[in-house]
């Protein structure tokens, strides 16, 4: 009833506009709403699909979730003792990502601050184009660089027996995430109104004080989003880490140990696992685990932002 009434008033209020304009506006509004909602639909659909493929093994008698999460033995095709322990893979993913962020966050945020605050307009354009170019390099090419150039460098410089390891994967992933952190971080800093800068300078702040005390806190959310997208890129990256980390199922004791990541493991093994087999379903379960990890990262970052805001 109220709906019909609302329509009536709408008609009366906009009587001067032609009917097609009103219909068009409604259609456009619906289209925009649908595309907004579609993100939720897609995420849910992906989750449901992955879960559906993984569910039979998750609820089967033989499957032990504790072993899946906390055992390091990954023997999916063993002839006499099949074990699905993903701890080494999870630790491998986390180790490589953490190392990548250790390099990428200072360089990325530093680059964003430089481009946004210190750079002349000409250099800014050049840098932005070059950084965009960096992010356009396909991951296979990064992996190839890791496998050939980086691994030789690492062997020469560190005396490690093998050059494909955590360090190699971390550096390659850092190089891949820096462009994302820079360009989104720069947008976040640009979004801080100039009146903040003017007020800070008028109060006698130095440029350093202005950046530390005014701009970084003001752009906090955007910068965190930049870092998170960088983390997302690093966690989800497959091809480059597959080639650069050595693909060894082991918990690393140092930067020079080879590891295998969750993503690389899925990429390497899904092709051979017959559809519907236990191995296939466990690989989907690994995908679900990956999904949960990135979900947890996002949620905790969200909570962190809220905590900061309350202060």
């Amino acid at each position: 009833m109220t709906h019909a009434h609302g329509k009536e008033t709408l008609k009366r209020a906009r009587a001067s506009r032609p009917a097609w304009a009103i219909v068009g506006e409604k259609l456009l509004e619906t289209a925009i709403r649908v595309s907004g909602m579609s993100a939720i639909v897609f995420v849910l659909a992906i989750f449901i699909f992955v879960f559906r493929e993984a569910a039979p093994v998750l609820f089967s008698e033989r499957f032990d979730l504790g072993q899946f999460l906390f055992d390091t033995a990954w023997y999916p095709t063993s002839a006499n003792n099949v074990r699905y322990g993903t701890l080494a893979l999870t630790v491998g993913s986390i180790a490589v990502t953490a190392l990548a962020m250790l390099f990428a966050v200072p360089f990325g945020l530093g680059g964003a601050i430089y481009i946004s605050e210190f750079c002349g307009p000409r250099w800014r354009e050049i840098l932005k184009v070059v950084i965009e170019l960096l992010s356009a390099i396909p991951s296979v090419v990064w992996g190839f660089i890791g496998l050939t150039v980086m691994s030789k460098l690492i062997v020469q410089l560190t005396n490690a027996p093998v050059g494909v390891n955590v360090l190699n994967g971390g550096i390659i992933l850092a190089l891949m995430s820096v462009p994302i952190v820079v360009s989104i971080g720069e947008d976040a800093l640009k979004a801080v109104p100039d009146s903040y800068r003017e007020a800070g300078l008028a109060m006698g702040a130095t440029r350093w004080q202005l950046i530390c005390r005014v701009l970084l806190p003001a752009a906090r959310n955007g910068l965190l989003a930049a870092v998170l997208l960088g983390v997302g890129r690093a966690v989800g990256e497959t091809m480059a880490v597959l080639m650069a980390t050595g693909h060894a199922v082991t918990i690393p004791h140092g930067l020079l140990d080879s590891v295998r990541t969750l993503t690389a493991n899925i990429a390497a093994e899904l092709g051979e696992a017959p559809a519907g087999s236990e191995h296939y379903r466990v690989l989907f379960l690994t995908g679900l685990l990956l999904f949960c990890i990135s979900f947890a990262v996002n949620i905790s970052a969200d909570l962190a932002i809220r905590g900061l805001r309350r202060k």
């Binding site: 063993s78 062997v155 199922v249």
Partner: protein, 306 residues
């Protein structure tokens, strides 16, 4: 409203022209020989050990029968057999036998029984770096190096001193579990026990050879067709104290090399038409010549297949 349309039109025209060009070029390719039969494409997938020889076969076969195109891809015997079970591939290369349960699955899925052809022989070679003084090893020692819970983790335990190396931990190089070579090694060296975790499980034989060639303390394995000057193939003894035999065509021929194996091509059901002609050609002297040139052992040189 008019401006965007004007921009769009030349783009649209361009797309149409491009599409036409693509169509025309496809037609051109097919019409090279007037009256030639339409092109047949056969998918050939599987063993990474065999991918080199399979590519040469495919290339040379184009001269024999231009109407058939063979598309070769690797990934490992396991990947090829998984594709055969799904019924998405015509010819599968495999460096191991299909397992009974895989044959069952293929029958259930596609209604056809996989048929295997032995197309050549190979010695699974064990490699060390050229700088490693070791020249022979017994299968038992090899198992202690590679198997889960094995006792050999350092070269010094084998009495080997590698020049210029402080940390002589053995760097294990292995293959991904999709590899037929991996499964053959597990069955015939480890006695079906599991591999030690922490080996570098690489994607292809070529990567294995490269990593062993650049790492003084590494050990790895692959088909003998992949040998390079940077690595050394070890002679193998089936028992400690027994005479070690180096991998060679002759040693595969008289079965004195302990890790000799057959190379197979599998099809779904009896092959027909182009697939049958292709396999017949591979088994003919011309195809077998390529096996030899690729570093493997042709059928005629070896005793009858079992």
């Amino acid at each position: 409203m008019r401006a965007p349309r004007m921009v769009k039109r030349p783009l649209g025209a361009l797309a149409v022209v491009a599409a036409m060009a693509v169509v025309a070029s496809c037609r051109g390719g097919g019409g090279e020989k007037p009256g030639a039969a339409p092109r047949t494409i056969l998918q050939n997938k599987g063993s990474d050990t065999m991918v080199n020889v399979a590519q040469v076969w495919a290339e040379k076969y184009r001269e024999v029968d231009p109407s058939v195109e063979i598309e070769v891809s690797g990934g490992g015997s396991g990947v090829g057999i998984a594709a055969l079970i799904r019924g998405t591939v015509e010819l599968v290369n495999s460096s191991r036998d299909m397992k009974p349960e895989e044959i069952e699955q293929a029958k259930k899925n596609t209604g056809k029984t996989p048929k295997g052809f032995v197309v050549g022989f190979d010695a699974l070679a064990v490699y060390v770096n050229k700088g490693n003084p070791l020249s022979e090893i017994a299968l038992e020692q090899l198992a202690e190096i590679y198997k889960e819970g094995g006792t050999l983790t350092r070269w010094s335990q084998l009495g080997v001193k590698i020049p210029g190396v402080q940390d002589d931990t053995i760097v294990l190089v292995s293959r991904q579990s999709s590899s037929g070579t991996y499964e053959f090694f597990r069955e015939h060296v480890l006695g079906k026990q599991d591999f030690r975790l922490g080996s570098r499980d690489l994607n292809g034989s070529k990567e294995v050879v490269e990593l062993v060639g650049s790492t003084p303390t590494a050990i790895g394995y692959s088909g003998m067709g992949y040998a390079t000057p940077a690595i050394k193939m070890l002679a193998l003894a089936s028992k400690p104290g027994a005479a070690a035999v180096a991998p060679s065509a002759a040693a595969v021929k008289d079965k004195s090399y302990p890790l000799a194996r057959s190379l197979h091509i599998y099809t779904l059901g009896d092959p027909e038409g182009p697939a049958k002609r292709y396999i017949d050609w591979i088994l003919s002297p011309a195809g077998q010549q390529i096996v030899q040139e690729s570093g493997y052992v042709p059928l005629s040189a070896a005793p009858a297949a079992d």
